[in-house]
Every structure is written in C-alpha cells, then in structure tokens.
C-alpha cells in the first residue's frame, strides 16, 4: 500500500491537468453560448478551474493529515525513492497551507487575466512538486523535483506575459536558475563518481574514503546551485524582479515557500557530505554563518531605500533568509538542535509573515489598480491613508510587517529569539558577535518597515486610495487567517513544535548526531 504522503503528491499533481482542462471546458461552454453574440475582449470569468483547484487542495489535506501522523514513512518505486521525514513534513505543511490560501486569494485577484486555468494548474503542480522535493531521498530524484518546481515557477512568474516587467523578470529568473541547476548536476556527478550511489541515506557509508577536495568542490557546486534559488547574496539578483512582478499570489508562494524549498534542498544534499570532510566540517558552518550575515546586511540595506512596495518586500526576503541560514550555520557549528529548530521555526514564520505581506500588498494593488496604469508598481506613497478605506487589509499588512521586523508578541520575534539563544549557547565569541550583528540588523529593518506601516495610517489619503475599489471577501479571508496565525504563534510559540522539532531531529540525524 502506498503511504499517505504519496497520495498527497499524486492528488495534487494529477489534479493539475484536470484543472487545466476544466478551464477549457468552462471556456468552451461560454464560447458556444456566446457564439452568436459579441466577442469577449478578455477571457470570460473562469471559475471552474479555481473551484477544481480548491477542491484538489481540500482533498489533499486528508492525506496530509494522515501523513503527519505516520512518522517517517518511506516509499520506493523503481528509481523513485521517497521518505517523508520531519523536514518533508515541515515543507509540505507550509506549501500546502500557503498554497490553499493563495488559491482562495487568486480567483478574484486574477479577474480579467487570460488563461487563469493555467495559473491554478501550475499552482497545484508547484505545491505537489515541492512536497516531492521535500521527501526525495535520492540525489537525482531531488534534482528532477527541483527542476519541475523551477519550470512551474518560471511559467508563473511570467504569467502576465504581455507585461514587459514580468517577462524581463521571468527571463532573468530562468537563465540564472538554469545556470545554478547545471552546477547542481555537476555536483551530483562528482558525488556519484565518489560514492557510486545517489541514495541520500546510503551516501554516508560510501563516502568514508572519499577525497575531501572533491567533496568540497561538490559542496561548493551545491551551495551555489541551490543558493541561486534560495537567494543567497550575491546570487539573489533575480529575486527582487521575479518576486515584485509575479502575480501577488505567486509572489507570496515564491517568497514564502519556494526560496525556502531551495534552502531545504540544499540542506538535503549537503548533510550526508558534511561528516566526511576530514574534520573540516566547520568550514560549512562558517560558510553558512557568513552567508547569513551577508544576506542580512545586503537585504536590509537594499530594502532601505525602496519605494515600490513589492520590491521592498522582496529585498526583505533576502534579509530574512539570512536569519534562517544563520540558524542553520549555528547548528552546523555546535551540533545542537536549537539553532536548526529556530531556523525551521523562522522558515515557517517567514512563510506566514511574508505570505501575508505579499497577499496584503496584492489586495491593495488589486484595490488601487483602477487608478494605476496597467501593472504599474505600487509605491509606498500610493498607500497613504489605506487604513481608512481598507482597515482590515492595512491592519493585517501591518502585523506582517511588524512581525518581520521582530516586534513581540508576533511570530518573527519568537523565531529570531530562538536562533539567538542557540547562537549564544554555542559559546563562540564570533557567533556571539554575529548574534549582535543580526539583532542590529533587526533594528535596521524597522527603518523600512515602520515607514510603510506609517504610510498606511496617514491622515491624508492618496488619490489612488480615494478612487480605490472594494476588495472581495475571498481576498480578505486568507489575510485574516494568516494574521491570526502570526499573532497566535507569537503568543504561544510552542504551537509549531510538532513541525520544527521533527525537522531539526531529522537534520541532526542526517548529520550523524
């Protein structure tokens, strides 16, 4: 019998073509009905594919619940090898949760766009493939999942394909990401040459006699290859374009889960290698700590003077990835699970907060776009007085931003705190210095989050807000859900322990502790 998590992947991936066809059926019906009358300027509203997608996501929660209970299920079929451990559980919970909310949000958001059935089908693929990526236990399988995720992402970023900015973002994303992907392949070849296997669980035993220089080369290839997707500085250059010019629901997915999926894939492939570096494993820790620090500073400084809302949020993602990488680096250094648990905690919280931020920005973009030239970016000054007309959206957005800035009692504070505790516990003076550095960066980030919040609560209403249209309830509900989540996690940080603890345990296990 197939374990539940395989059903989870199957439901999502197999539903995608149905969703796509469903959209066509709906359109055909309407074309027939209107055959004699006027030509549609844009495609007719296409609800069928959204409902099918929502149905598939709703069904997917059943195998997810089952999979969450059955710990460490494994599955193998031919060359396909999967194992649903703690890390996979964490990633699938985040992907499925955020994916569902994005699907609810996007129906109304995409009103007037062409071919929305493609959007929903690709969204399902994205979620399903991401779960597969999390569960892959074979290096090459993992690359295939990763590539599938990448292709879905390219197509979604460039979804508004008559839009120049989206196209430009899509092209950059594709070329940079594909270059990274080739590096991963070369790394895989190196590992294969050394170990003769690509099974992530057998690798460890086979690498005992490996040449550590070649392993270092493989590691460097993996770090850069996956690092492009995970937006490590200086590989992050595609991110602000892609995240700012994708449809907002996809921005939420990209920032909230996809870059984190890249990071998790990187972890997966690196972990079996680290114990075999002839006592030089600490170099990987140093690498992570340094990348964390660079991401923090560069992300924050780049965000500091942005005037476009979504671009600012995109750069803030670069900074937030820094915290996650920093937390992982601490665990690599100390071998204590607290840092990794904090990193996974922050990964989840960042998914909630950044997902919320992008969806809220999207809702405001939706409301104000009547006054904007088509697909023009939303700037901070456009938001002036938004709280007057859209109090719920503005409040939810503020919660997301303040949470990202690390204000208690919101989620972001708690996970950052956990990472800091781990850092100080590691008992190394340089890590202590980095903790101070990270905390100062948190302060720096307030210098761009606070003005954004402030703009929304201004008394003088911007002309765009004055002319804004109402926002449908289906777009507000996901915001409220996420905002409540951010507050609840902040007040009771242990509610996510069921996800973060198994994940950090799985990480330590792979490291050989």
């Amino acid at each position: 019998m197939m374990p539940a998590f395989v059903w989870l992947i199957l439901v999502l991936v197999l539903a995608a073509p149905l969703v796509y066809l469903g959209g066509h059926v709906g359109r055909l019906r309407q074309l027939v009905a209107n055959a004699t009358s006027v030509e549609w300027e844009t495609d007719p509203p296409n609800h069928l594919s959204q409902w099918l997608a929502l149905g598939a996501l709703a069904v997917a929660w059943i195998p997810f619940t089952l999979a969450a209970r059955a710990s460490d299920a494994a599955f193998a079929l031919g060359t396909l090898a999967l194992r649903f451990d703690g890390i996979a559980l964490l990633l699938s919970a985040l992907a499925l949760g955020l994916g569902t909310l994005v699907a609810i949000f996007s129906g109304a958001y995409l009103r007037g766009e062409k071919q929305t059935e493609k959007f929903f089908a690709l969204l399902l693929v994205m979620v399903g493939v991401m779960i597969g990526l999390g569960a892959a236990r074979d290096l090459f399988n993992l690359w295939v999942w990763f590539e599938a995720l990448a292709v879905a992402s390219y197509m979604l970023v460039a979804f508004q394909r008559d839009e120049r900015a989206s196209l430009e973002a899509g092209v950059k994303y594709l070329v940079q990401s594909a270059a990274g992907s080739v590096m991963i392949l070369l790394g895989i070849a190196l590992v294969l040459a050394q170990a003769g296997t690509l099974d992530l669980e057998e690798l460890g035993a086979r690498l005992v006699t490996a040449d550590s220089n070649l392993l270092f080369a493989a590691l460097a290839l993996f770090v850069i290859g996956f690092g492009v997707k995970a937006a490590l500085v200086p590989l992050h250059t595609w991110l602000p374009d892609a995240h700012a010019h994708a449809p907002s629901g996809i921005s939420a997915m990209l920032s909230g889960v996809v870059i984190e999926a890249g990071l998790i894939a990187m972890l997966r492939v690196m972990l079996p290698l680290i114990p075999h570096l002839q006592g030089q494993g600490n170099r990987v820790a140093v690498l992570f700590l340094v990348f964390g620090a660079i991401n923090l500073l560069a992300g924050n400084l780049l965000a500091l003077r942005q005037t476009e809302v979504k671009r600012l949020l995109a750069f803030s993602s670069v900074a937030q990835v820094g915290y996650i990488v920093f937390g992982l680096g601490i665990t690599f250094w100390s071998g204590q699970g607290v840092g990794a648990q904090g990193a996974f905690f922050h990964l989840l919280n960042h998914g909630l907060m950044k997902g919320l931020a992008f969806l809220a920005a999207g809702a405001l973009l939706f409301a104000l776009r009547a006054g904007l030239p088509r697909h023009a970016p939303l700037t901070i000054s456009d938001l002036a007085g938004a709280a007057r007309r859209y109090p719920v959206i503005a409040f939810a957005f503020s919660i997301a931003l303040l949470g990202l800035g690390g204000l208690p009692p919101l989620a972001g504070f708690m996970s950052k705190w956990q990472i800091f505790v781990a850092g100080v516990d590691a008992g190394n003076i340089w890590i202590d210095v980095l903790v101070v550095f990270a905390a100062l960066n948190s302060v720096l980030s307030l210098a761009y989050y606070a003005p954004l919040v402030n703009a929304m609560y201004r008394g003088n209403v911007s002309p765009l807000v004055a002319r804004g249209t109402p926002v449908p309830r289906a777009m507000v509900v996901p915001l409220v859900v996420l905002a409540v989540g951010v507050v609840v996690v902040g007040v009771a940080p242990n509610v996510l322990d069921w996800l973060t603890q198994p994940a950090s345990a799985a990480l330590l296990h792979s490291l050989g502790y």
Partner: protein
Amino acid sequence: MNLSPLDTAIFLVLGLFGVGFYALLIVRHLIKLVIALQILVKAAVVALAAAGAASGKLELGASLALSVIVVDTVVAVVALALALQVRKHFGTLDVSELGTLRG
C-alpha cells in the same frame, strides 16, 4: 600524451563548462544564452555519464544522462517560449535591453 577515456571526459566537461559560463557572462542575445545553457547541460550530461563509468555504475550514469536531456528539453522549450514573448513585446532579443528593473 596518453589520455584515458576518463581524463578525456574530464577535460571535455571542464572545457564545455568554461565555454558555457563564459558565454553566459558576455553573450547578450537571448537565443545565444539559451544555447549557452544547452552547452552547460551537455557538459553535465557528459559528467554524469563519466561519473557513472568511473564508479562502475555505467548504466546508472547513462540513465541519469538521458533523464537530464529529457528534463532539460522542457526548460529549453519554456526558455524559447519566453524568448518569443520577449521578441514580441520588446522588439529585440538583446538582454541588455531587459534592464528596466534595477536598484
């Protein structure tokens, strides 16, 4: 100078990688960029096949190489589709024209 097949493969891989990345750094034509990516993928294909051979898992290496070719075709198709749209909306395939998003 006698080169074993493995050495030849290594030199081939390194050469293709060098060419591919060098092209990515200097080429501005989108289609040429896609070609450069293809060169890189071919390097990876050779590397995987050679790695399979080197570790005594010839078949594994070969099947991986084939799978890569298949998967990468999809990427190439998406890339070319994007290039088509770029041509349509920007009127050029010069990626230096695609520099509106900056700072």
